[in-house]
Symmetry: C2
Subunit: 194 residues, 2 copies
């Protein structure tokens, strides 16, 4: 392919992803249509269907590209402080109306479509979960985490409650909430007498 069409394709692709996120924030996932995305992006519907099989796949690509390096977990040597940083940031994402709308859309697709569920997990969430797990491993090596703590489950103990509260709207998603969650998880994994 000559440089010219490649550049045009890339421009269209970015316009489509941006249009999808804009429309999602404006009017929600239920009302999001391929037609509206095409119109906002200034492309034809066939262009979209050439690259994606549905709106869920578009939103996933848009989110992955918009937040590519979101998972730099700090390692200050203070596990509680490092977990507070990442859990505060995660809680803030769920509390943000725009980001919450994209998470809502992807969760609906995750529930309805096994293939997309695997992609959401592996491309979007797995890097973050693995970064937290790696930080827990380094803390365990430093003697700050019980040797027998099941780290995969500890990661879920951090993120699962946020998801639960967001989904069921059972309480506020605030910084004090985030810190209390980290304190609970720290109490669960600290060595006895630590």
């Amino acid at each position: 392919m000559s440089p010219q069409p490649a550049r045009r394709n890339e421009r269209s692709r970015r316009a489509i992803l941006a249009a999808a996120l804009e429309l999602l924030a404006e009017s929600g996932y239920a009302d999001l249509t391929i037609e509206a995305i095409a119109s906002r992006a200034g492309v034809g519907k066939p262009t979209i269907y050439r690259w994606w099989r549905g709106k869920g796949a578009i939103i996933l690509d848009a989110v992955v590209e918009t937040f590519p390096d979101v998972v730099e977990l700090p390692d200050t040597g203070d596990l509680r402080a490092d977990l507070r940083a990442v859990i505060r940031a995660t809680v803030a994402e769920f509390a943000d109306p725009t980001l919450s709308a994209t998470t809502r859309a992807l969760t609906i697709e995750t529930l309805a479509d096994d293939d997309l569920a695997g992609q959401v997990r592996d491309r979007l969430l797995r890097p973050q979960l693995d970064a937290v797990r790696a930080r827990l491993e380094s803390a365990r090596a430093a003697g700050r985490v019980r040797p027998d703590a099941p780290l995969e489950q500890v990661v879920e103990l951090l993120f699962g409650p946020i998801y639960h509260r967001w989904l069921l709207r059972t309480g506020p998603l605030t910084e004090p909430y985030a810190d209390a969650l980290v304190d609970l998880v720290m109490a669960a994994i600290e060595p006895a007498g630590g």
Copy 2:
């Protein structure tokens, strides 16, 4: 209304709820239609729309009526044993394909419809969350739980990770998994030196 039509209405209502659960288990939520439910239940579509505004509301009523007294939490005096019983049962529900399909359907509706979300939370989940919270309170009164443990968040610490694992399919939903989860939460809430 004379007894005769009342009985006929009740028979139709039950047939509709049963048909909805059957069809959901057979072919999934995406393919579930009001038309199919009406046909299976032997009623007209207008009958259904007179009583419910959509398939999500039907599934919610069906689940609430099918599992009415699901939340008898034991109080044996042994908090760990009592939590194991309820968390093993919850994990088994999420692992069961039929129950998982109804939870999937209700979760999709919860994400798309604020009003139904409130009903799912208050009619279906709140009784269970409150029963666990009451058990934690009695344990705290007996000195088995740290006085400063935030019990609302402890309840989410128990259920959130199950939801997370089920949604993202990141690991098996088994009895050893359930027990390890309870052990983590117990470590988080037990008094120092307890």
